[in-house]
Amino acid sequence: MRLVILDDYDLASEWAAKYIRNRIVQFQPSADRCFTLGLPTGSTPYGCYQKLIEYHRSGDISFKYVKTFNMDEYVGLPRAHPESYHSYMWNNFFKHIDIDPANAHILDGNADDLEVECQAFEQKIAEAGGIELFVGGIGPDGHIAFNEPGSSLVSRTRVKTLAKDTIVANARFFGNNLSKVPTMALTVGVGTVMEAKEVMILITGAHKAFALYKAIEEGVNHMWTVSAFQQHPRTIFVCDEDATLELRVKTVKYFKGLMHVHNKLVDPVLSVKDQ
């Protein structure tokens, strides 16, 4: 695991965006060989998306040959609803970049047959050659995507009923009205994300600190599903200072001491203009 610790949210967002940018530019995606990117939603990755849009506007990166696969989507929420993950991705990312609409994949929470939809999604990932880099976040209960506590660590894309914690955490997006929050979602499984070549987890804020502690300093446990990535060959956790508040001083010092090594991954920052 690489634990990359930046001073604050903005710097963490920037580091993550630079990393994604370098990975894509280095890959040199083309019509025959797309870069497959797994994507999250929520307040944590917002800053990262803003930076990526900035890099696109300055001409340093193109998403023309990038295929994206989002982690999850609510069940039963109209796609045009402002809180759907389709709306989030359109407003905060897709509408600002040059991605081919046919390459942007998000689970359809209004599909007639949800199981078929989930299987089709797994199929699309396989047909795309698997995910090159899966970017994710972590819930306060340690979940990745909507793999709530108790989810199998080898699970695949499926329908999940949301935990009370998650519903409460999401209520702020539905006028603080618990009854308006969807209770089910389609989500990639822990196993699905584990199959990606590389995983990058963004964790910012003090409220995520305990989950981060459980995810990396304790054992692999299906109650804290992000802990599964301890068994992935290439995982990067990008955090701000506040997210490290529950970690041992020794852990933090060790990884901070490695920042000069980590920073080689984002410095120099690459651009398509140089190709």
Binding site: R79, W90, A102
Partner: protein, 399 residues
Amino acid sequence: MPSNKSVSDAPITQFINCRILRDHKLQRDDLWVREGKILNPEKLFFDEQGYADERVDCEGSIIAPGFIDVQINGGHGVDFSQASDDAGSGVSFVAQKILEHGVTSFCPTLVTSPADVYHKVLPQVKVHDGGRHGAGVLGLHLEGPFISVEKKGAHPEQFLRTFRSGAGSLDDLMEAYGSLDNVAMVTLAPELSGSQSAVRELCRRGVAVSLGHSVANLSQAEDAVRSGASFITHLFNAMLPFHHRDPGIVGLLTSDQVPAGRTVYYGMIADGIHTNPAALRLVLVTDAIAAMGLPPGRHTLGQQVIEIQGLHAYVAGTKTLSGSIATMDECVRHFKQASGCSVEEALEAASLHPAQLLGVSHKKGNLDYGSDADLTLLDDGLNVRATYISGEEVWRKGS
């Protein structure tokens, strides 16, 4: 990228680098147009996996819905109130010229005239869409002849009319005008006896009724509103002033007798107005006359001769104002500067509110998805840079 649009193969235009007026606010966002209507790009992306065929760089311009002028008597030498054999050409000529002012739809207005003028002109002016040829005609605005002699302003006294009470006012209307097809609005004085049933007759035919050139008291004005009247022609001008014991027509703005769900709009020829919550229903009009766009001198307005002095238009030999030579974009700029209102409020007074008044806001006067793509591109000083009708550029500055 190969196109994969499933709904339509028509080309899609994306206006970028602009600020659009949406939800009553100027927002940095792109505007998408397909087949003359505003398109929802999110639906296009997810439903059709479609994208733009053409991008128009607006260089930071403001995009407002095209302006709608519901009171304009002519311009550039054309006077709509003349018994011309080719009234249609005159309307078309003005329609083309006003594209420069950001106007994409208008109501050619006729002032009080003898019956033969109406009978001759009205059949020649039809409701039709705008385009490269000029702004669209939403219908005629007939200001008079059923107005008050005391507040006639520049209207010629000998052609004013009253309703023959008890004779059925539809007959009076038909006798005066000849036909009500293609009429979008009629201005009348509600104190005239028989006018209430005239208001109802007109509303039944989908014609908006406006109160003006009148000495009506508030109660008469409220009766007219209950009968369906929804507009006040050039508020404050040619009506009794707001008096604390009888507010008159102006009192409609604060009246509690307006039926629920109904709105009374009021027209302003923008000069010296102070904004207040009632400005939500303000409609900017030019009341422009034939002299608009021409050098100073003498021109006609129906049966009257008008003299231009500076920016004022008077009945020749008097100090009675008669119409203006202002253009719509001038009115928008002046309104904003004089009232201190926001850019959004000034733009909506020239687009959204007139559309709501005429009952066409489901397709005009706004940039909502599905509305006609009638656009006015403006710089920060609210000067018109370009005008579009149904997504097609119909005028550009410097062209």
